[in-house]
Each structure stands twice: as C-alpha cells, then as structure tokens.
C-alpha cells in the first residue's frame, strides 16, 4: 500500500515515532524522481524542503510545531514564492524570480507545511489540458496518453501520483475542479475572495481563486482553512472569519439537493458520466435526501459570459509583460514598437495570444456595450439565479465535466471544443460560489469521473461536510 496518502496517517506516524518529516520528504522526493516522466513538477526544492523538514522535526520533538507539520505541498507555477522562479508556464516570464511570497503560501509555511516544488500548468492558467505550457505536457497517471486536465494539471497529478500530500492550484473557470475530476482527486474552488490573491499571478482578477488538491476531504479542508481569510494586501479579500472546516465535517442532516436539467441532458455529457451521476443521486434519495431536477435555462450563456469577461480582464492583466521591466525581452527589436510586438509575440503562447486578442476586442470602444457590458449583465443574472437556487437548496450536484480525460492533441485544432470542457465548472466561477469536485468512480476504461457539488457563498464548511459524507457513502457501497 502506498504510504502517506492522508495527513491523518502522516500525523499518526509522526506521533508514534514511526517516521519523521525528513523521511516523508524523502519518500515524496523518491516518488517525484520515479515519476519524473509525468512532468508534474517543473522545479523541485530538494535542498530547502529537506532543511525545512529537519527544522520541523526539531520543533516536533519540543512540541512547538505548527498544525500542518508533516504536510508536504506542491504549488502551481502561477503562485509567488520569494526567491523562487515563477514563470506561469510562459516564456515571457522565463528566469523571473519572485521577490515576495503569496499570502496563501506564507500562511501555510507559518503552520509548518513544507513546500516541495513548483507544479506545471497551462500558461497563465489558460487551458483545460495542460498542453499550453512552456514546460511541456503533464501526463495523466491514470492513462499516460491522456491529459490531466487544466490549467492546474501538474497540481492534480502531483496528488494523484503521490508526489506530495496536497497541492495548490488556481481556479478561474474550473482549473482545479476539472483536473481533479480527470485524476480522481478532491479539488476545491473556494468562494471568490475567500483566499487572498496577493501573490497569485492574475489571469482574470474577478474570477481567480486559489484552490486545493488532495486525496481526501479532510486534508483539503485543513489546507483551505489555513490559507483563507482577510488580507491587508488584497482589498477584495473577504473580511468574514474562517471556520475550521476540518472540524466541521460531521454531516447528519436531510439535504435538499438540486440537479440542473440542462446539465444532465446536455449533448456533450458522456453516457457513463451521466449514469454515474444518476446513480449517486438515486443513492441520495434512498438515504432520505430530497433531490430535485430544476431548470437552468442560462446554461448556454455561461460559457460566452465567462470567456468575454475573463479574456477582457486577461488582456489588461497581461499588459504588464512588455519586456521593459522583467522577464523575456526579444533580442530582435530595433525600436520601441517592435520591442513590444516581438517580445509579446515571441513570449506568449498561442492560447494566451488568442485570449488577449479576444479580450482586447470585447473591450474596444465599438464593441464594448455589445459584449463587455452585456456579459456583465448576464453575469449578474447567472449569479442571482445560482444564489437564489442555493437559498432554496443546500447543494447543486452535477458532473464536474461532460467527458473524461481526453487524449493529447484531441482538441488541438478546435479551441471551442476545448472551451466546452469548462461547461459545468464555469457557473460557480461566474457566480463566485464555492464548488468542489470529488471522485465518482471510473468509467469502463478506468478513467476517473468527477462529481461536482456547489454551495452558496462562504458555505465551504457545509460543502466539505457533504462532500465527505458522499465519499463515505460511495465507499460504503
């Protein structure tokens, strides 16, 4: 049996004296080496992780260690960690070293979590397959010919392949939940503004969240409760206090669950995924919960709204990468304009350029009202619909993705087919509500299927408790 799959197990071993932080780090380092071909990690902090482990071992022996002592984390390559490179998987940030640490990471370090390395992802978090990375593809450990999902593909595989205890990803439209579904891991996108974005390299500021991958719900809850909360460095971060999610996992109520008709009857939904989802809904009914199918007429507007607004923000957020101050600068320029054009043409990948152009277009004076203003209105409608629904129901349950992990290159020439991967995940992103993906068995080819649960804003505790209950329910079968 694989070791160190849960933080509870790690803590028990540490308490019993069966292991040490150093041994745990070494265990993961070995795994990383053995599975290097998966290309999950783009950089491993071997030296500093081992030193940190020794330091925490000492703390443990004097009883002064933080609550995450023994937890080994990987971080997505869009998070800033002082003195370490942060490339956002882009050539334009090649060689860029961050001069400060993201608030989320700092809070984890303060509780003695060990950061073991930096994880592959789609460039600036733009993609659903991890194929848009200057670091190359990350392979899905369930089938190495298939994508791990994206954009946080490396973070998902790192947990899936037991290369660390848990990992940080970011989720703008499904970038944690979709790869979690593809890899059979637990992945949460918290409520927008729940975790400070200070130190998160922005893709779309009003959507970006930092999320967590783990093997089980409890580990996930522990990481999120540690890094969440108000932050002076992010004026948009919520001032609401953070409950200790990991201590609130007990679930014993009769839940009201909504299931969206348009989602379950979507043409894009694969049969096996549909069946797995129906099965779990049946089981919930059997357990005495109320499950109701409700209309979601706005489903067709969710993706266009998401892509108009996120690309608009991205086109502006990525303007700072111009070769003037840091990162890549073209060697081929002969004047200012050509420096801008060549630096950005050579530095950004195809998908990023596509989104910058799309965003620039929807913000341009002649099209602003037709696209940006309208999309903002629709966003408000979707948000209101979702929140109202979640006032009536405790949870919305649906498949995380319409399909299982696809093959490399399958959507290469069809960006829209790729965008459809996000069909079910963007609703929570557009609305700002929290959503979690948990494993829901495998299809007949052994490929993981994900189940997505949404709750109302700042109801992460309820979300975790229900997710935990569902995991138990499935395994009791």
């Amino acid at each position: 049996m694989e070791k160190f799959r849960s933080f509870d197990e790690i803590k028990k071993s540490l308490q019993n004296g069966d292991t040490s932080c150093k041994a745990i780090v070494n265990h993961y380092l070995e795994n990383i080496q053995t599975k290097a071909h998966l290309n999950a990690f783009v950089e491993v902090y071997t030296q500093s992780a081992l030193e940190k482990a020794e330091e925490i071992d000492k703390k443990l022996s004097t009883g002064k260690a933080g609550k995450l002592a023994g937890m080994v984390l990987g971080i997505k390559d869009v998070l800033c960690y002082q003195g370490h490179e942060a490339n956002a998987s882009s050539k334009i940030l090649s060689g860029f070293e961050s001069q400060f640490t993201a608030t989320a990471i700092q809070r984890l370090i303060d509780e003695d979590a060990i950061i073991i390395g930096r994880l592959n992802c789609d460039e600036f978090g733009m993609g659903s397959s991890n194929e848009n990375s200057v670091h190359g593809n990350t392979l899905n450990a369930a089938d190495e010919g298939r994508v791990p999902g994206g954009s946080s593909g490396g973070s998902a595989v790192a947990v899936q392949a037991n290369l660390c205890t848990a990992s940080l990803g970011t989720d703008t439209g499904g970038s944690v939940r979709q790869p979690a579904a593809f890899t059979g891991t637990v992945g949460i996108k918290p409520t927008y503004s729940r975790v400070s974005r200070w130190g998160l390299i922005a893709y779309a500021s009003s959507f970006d969240t930092i999320g967590v991958f783990s093997n089980n719900v409890k580990d996930n809850a522990m990481v999120l409760e540690t890094m969440a909360g108000p932050d002076d460095y992010d004026s948009t971060s919520s001032k609401k206090p953070v409950p200790n999610y990991s201590e609130l996992l007990h679930f014993d109520k009769r839940a009201k669950i909504a299931c969206l008709k348009e989602t379950m009857h979507s043409d894009a939904l694969q049969d096996e995924i549909k069946q797995h989802t129906l099965d779990i809904l049946d089981k919930l009914r059997e357990e005495g919960h109320q499950v109701e199918e409700v209309d979601f007429p706005l489903l067709t507007y969710v993706l266009p709204t998401y892509y108009i607004l996120t690309t608009a923000e991205a086109s502006s957020n990525l303007s700072r990468f111009d070769g003037v101050k840091y990162g890549y600068r073209t060697p081929n320029a002969h004047n200012l304009e050509s420096m801008y054009k060549l630096t950005r043409s050579e530095g950004f990948g195809e998908e990023v350029k596509r989104r910058i152009m799309l965003g620039t277009f929807v913000l341009s004076a002649s099209y602003y009202d037709a696209y940006f203003t309208k999309a903002q209105k629709v966003r408000r409608m979707i948000k209101e619909f979702t929140e109202n629904l979640l006032n009536k129901f405790d949870y919305i349950v649906m498949p995380t993705t319409p399909s299982v992990a696809f093959r490399f290159g399958e959507h290469r020439d069809d960006p829209v087919a790729m965008y459809l991967e996000d069909l079910f995940t963007v609703q929570a992103s557009v609305s700002g509500v929290p959503a979690i993906s948990i494993p829901n068995g495998n299809d007949s080819n052994g490929l993981p299927i994900g189940l997505q649960i949404m709750a109302n804003s700042f109801k992460e505790a309820d979300l975790y408790a229900f997710a935990n209950y569902l995991m138990d329910l499935k395994s009791s079968n």
Partner: protein, 494 residues
C-alpha cells in the same frame, strides 16, 4: 503630420466675429507621503528608481491598495469647489502601452469620479466676476519618466513618479478668453495651496494643464471641433497657446479649411502649436472597472471630518477682509494671494484695529523684505504683535511712518523680539509733539529766512514744504510733523 503655422495677426474686426471656447483639464500632484495604490514614498528628487517596490513596478501577483489620504485630498478639493462627493467610488483601468507605465494600464476613475460638478469663481482684471463650472474631479496615478541621457542610445525609465497620486480637475467648456483661463489656473493654484494638497508648481510639473480649444461664430450654439493643446509649462504659456489657437482656428475657418479635431503641442519658443496626433490614431483606452480594488466608500462621518478640518478658503478670506476689515479689494486680493500671508494678516488684525495700516505694512515693508531675501512668511522674524506695536507707535504720534519703516523696522528685523518702543527710545527717535519745544525752533527758522516768509505771505504757498524741511532738519527729525505743520501755518498766516 507636423506643421508649423506662423499665423499672421488677425484684425480685431474679424476676431470679433468669433467666440473662443475653452475647457481645461488640470492635473494636480497630491502632497501625500506615499503613492496612490502603494506605500512607496513620493519624495521628490531622490535617485532614479529608489522610490519603488514590486507594486510600483507592477510585478506579477501584486495588487493595488487605495491611499486613503489621497482620497481625502480629492474630497477636500471637491468640497472647496462645491462639488457633489461620490459615496461609492469605483476605479477603472485605462489601458495603453508605454514604458513609463509599469502595469500597462493606469488606475483612474472613469464613470463615477469622486467629485461631480462644482464651480470655481474667478475675478478678471477689470473686476468682473465669473464662475467656471466644473465637470468633475477624479483620482488617478501618475506615470514614471522616460530619460534620454547623453551618450546613451537606450531610453531609460525612472519609476519614482509612477503611482504618485493625482487629481484631474476637468472644467466645462466655460471659458471665453485666455485671461479667464489664466485666472482660473491662478485660482486653482491658490486653492490647492490653501488646502495643502498640492504645491501648485507648474514649472516643476506638480500642476499640469491641457486646454481644449474651439471657436464658433458669435451667437452660435454649436461648439466647433475641439483641439487639445498639451505641454504648456506655465500659466502664461497656457494663455499664449490659447491666443495662438484662436488666431489659427479663425484663419482656417475664414479660409474655408477644416479645423481638425486633434492633439497639438505648444512650443514656448515660437509661441505656436503643432499637431501631435489626429483623432484617427487616437488610442482606444478600453476603460473597464478595476477588478483588483474594492470600492472606496465615503461615509457620512468621514466626509464630516474632512469638512470640519477644511482650512479657510481664499475667497472666504477675501470677502472677510473687504467686509470686516474694510480693505480695498486690491489689498484683499494681494493679502489672500498666499495662505500664509493671509493667516499672518489675520493674526496681525487680532493685535491691532488699524487694519489698513496692517495691510500697508504687510504689502509694503514686510513683503519687500521677504522678496529681497526670497524668504517665506513662516521664516519672517517679527511676530504679528511686533508689527502691531509698531503701528501703535505711529498711531500715537510717537514716531513717523518713515522713521518707523526706515529706522525701527530694520532694527526689529536684526534683533527679533526687541519692542519697537525700546528701539525708538534707545535710538532717541521718539518724536517731539510738545508745542512749547517745537515753537522756538520754528520761530528761529522763520526769522532766519524772512525773505521767504514775505514771498509766502505774498502768495507763494508752495514754500511751506521748504519751511517744514528746515524745521525737521533743525529738530533732527524728532519734531512731530503734524504738530510742526500746524504751528508753522499758524505763524505764517499771522
């Protein structure tokens, strides 16, 4: 397209057919210690790229944070101009590429500026009063500076100024002459200095002005195509640029040519403007709401505090000086020109009732001393009470004004703290107003020049001054001129 049009002078007859329409956009750099969205210093004159951090440089992962003090300063200006204050402020991004703009966008306010509407009263040279209506005042951040050093082929950028808070004051197209524009700017400069929010120095760039200028035939209601003129580094140059544009646009109109809606730059040497860019290649700034900042809410309490702490405004003081101190408008204007002089005057008026004398002292001897040594009134060695006792000394007839200003005042400047009376006594300057002691001197003078006395009595009244001069000389300047004059006339008319 670069054109240089040296326009021929246009006859006033032709000029009289047109109306000049001017709107101004004034940027004022706020005197906060830290920048608009970061805690980096705003100190002026530091070595390039020392007032910077990851925030100023727009490093990935950084987020802005609004400087409350800058918001307060903007509100102060808004209250002083009678604007409506926006309670829920959102910010916008103005997107464009330039090396001195670290994030690739400027965080500014587009829809929903902090101050809406408002007005600034101005007084023209002929005494006419006019009110310039404001469109808005909004908050934004400054850009860095590109530097072209000798011997360097590359352009270098200094980001010290990047992120320094600005307010932009935008008027309606309300002004009708270069003088009105000039007076408006003068008033704005006065206001920002009174409010302590900007040092108002246009030459150093802490106050900057762009002018939107158009013409229309007199009586017309439709505004002509507007031309925006930039790069004027003094009030005088703003006026010159407007005059030039007026002529240039009339000439185009008279010749049946199109006036192009464009941005032009002013050249101070030639006094002309030339095209920078036309409307067609204008940037599309793609404004959209800044998602990285939560709205700044101005609470009732906060607004009240700012209102209560607002210093007296130049116009209020002007009116008070005219109304309560009975000063001529000229005096009131000069005294309220600078806040510090006005406050000194106020203090002086607490110590003396002779307001006109107080005004004369301040506008005369005090100002000339400050000008000569280029001192600030804060560094003036004599306290208002000192000047007040000097005024009293003259009013009591103990010394003449000329003795006070030429003999005692210089001593007071040299040794601050010495009372004027003590100086006058020690220098033996107290004038003699005792008729019994002055009369013999006068009698002696008249006796010695009996011929002149006869001439006077025959009608040559102009000789009075000559007799007075003799008397003052004989008394070593100590005879009270008023008393001496009275006795002199008495004796001569006898």
């Amino acid at each position: 397209m670069i054109e240089e049009t040296k326009t021929a002078p246009i006859s006033t007859g032709i000029k009289g057919k047109y109306e000049l329409v001017i709107g101004l956009e004034v940027h004022a750099q706020l005197l906060t210690n830290s920048k608009m969205y970061t805690s980096d210093s705003t100190a002026y004159g530091n070595l390039p790229n020392t007032n910077i951090s990851v925030l100023t440089l727009g490093h990935p992962g950084t987020l802005p944070k609004v400087n409350k003090r800058a918001v307060e300063f903007a509100i102060r200006m808004g209250l002083a101009c009678n604007c409506e204050i926006t309670r829920r402020n959102i910010f916008s991004r103005k997107n464009y590429f330039y090396p001195d703009l670290p994030k690739g966008y400027q965080i500014t306010q587009d829809k929903g500026p902090i101050c809406v509407g408002g007005e600034v009263p101005i007084t023209l040279g002929n005494g006419e009063n006019k009110t310039v209506t404001l469109n808005r005042i909004h908050m934004e951040e400054d850009a860095g500076k590109s530097m072209h050093l000798a011997g360097e082929t590359d352009t270098l950028v200094d980001f010290n100024r990047a992120g320094v808070p600005l307010i932009e004051i935008v008027t309606e197209p309300d002004m009708r002459s270069s003088e009105e524009a000039y007076q408006f700017l003068t008033e704005i400069k006065k206001l920002v200095r009174y409010l302590d929010i900007c040092d108002g120095n246009m030459e150093e760039g802490s106050l900057r002005c762009d002018a939107n200028i158009s013409i229309m035939p007199k009586g017309s209601k439709t505004l002509g195509k507007k031309v925006e003129v930039k790069n004027m580094n003094s009030f005088r140059n703003v006026a010159r640029a407007i005059e030039h544009e007026f002529d240039r646009q009339i000439l185009l109109y008279e010749n049946g040519e199109d006036i192009v809606s464009e941005t032009r730059t002013f050249d101070a040497t030639s006094g002309t403007t030339s095209s920078m860019r036309t409307k067609e290649d204008l940037n599309d700034y793609r404004y959209f709401p800044e998602p990285d900042l939560s709205p700044v809410v101005v609470s009732e309490e906060w607004l009240e505090n700012i209102q209560n702490e607002l210093p007296p405004l130049p116009r209020e003081l002007f009116e008070k000086f005219v109304r309560d101190y009975d000063l001529p408008t000229y005096d009131a204007g000069v005294l309220t020109d600078s806040k510090e002089i006005a406050l000194y005057f106020e203090a002086l008026c607490q110590a003396t009732q002779n307001y006109k004398a107080a005004s004369n002292w301040l506008m005369g001897p005090v100002k000339s001393y400050l000008n000569e040594l280029t001192l600030h009134i804060d560094d003036f060695p004599i306290k208002p009470e000192g000047i007040a006792s000097l005024i009293l000394l003259v009013d009591e007839g103990k010394v003449s004004f000329s003795v006070a200003s030429q003999k005692i005042y210089p001593e007071m400047l040299k040794s601050a703290g010495r009372s004027p009376l003590e100086i006058a006594q020690s220098l033996n300057l107290i004038q003699d107003s005792d008729e019994d002691s002055i009369k013999p001197i006068i009698e002696q003078v008249l006796e010695e020049s009996s011929g002149k006395v006869a001439e006077y009595r025959a009608g040559k009244k102009g000789l009075l001054g000559m007799f007075m001069g003799q008397v003052m000389k004989r008394s070593k300047g100590k005879a009270d001129p008023k008393v001496a004059n009275k006795i002199l006339i008495e004796l001569l008319e006898k």
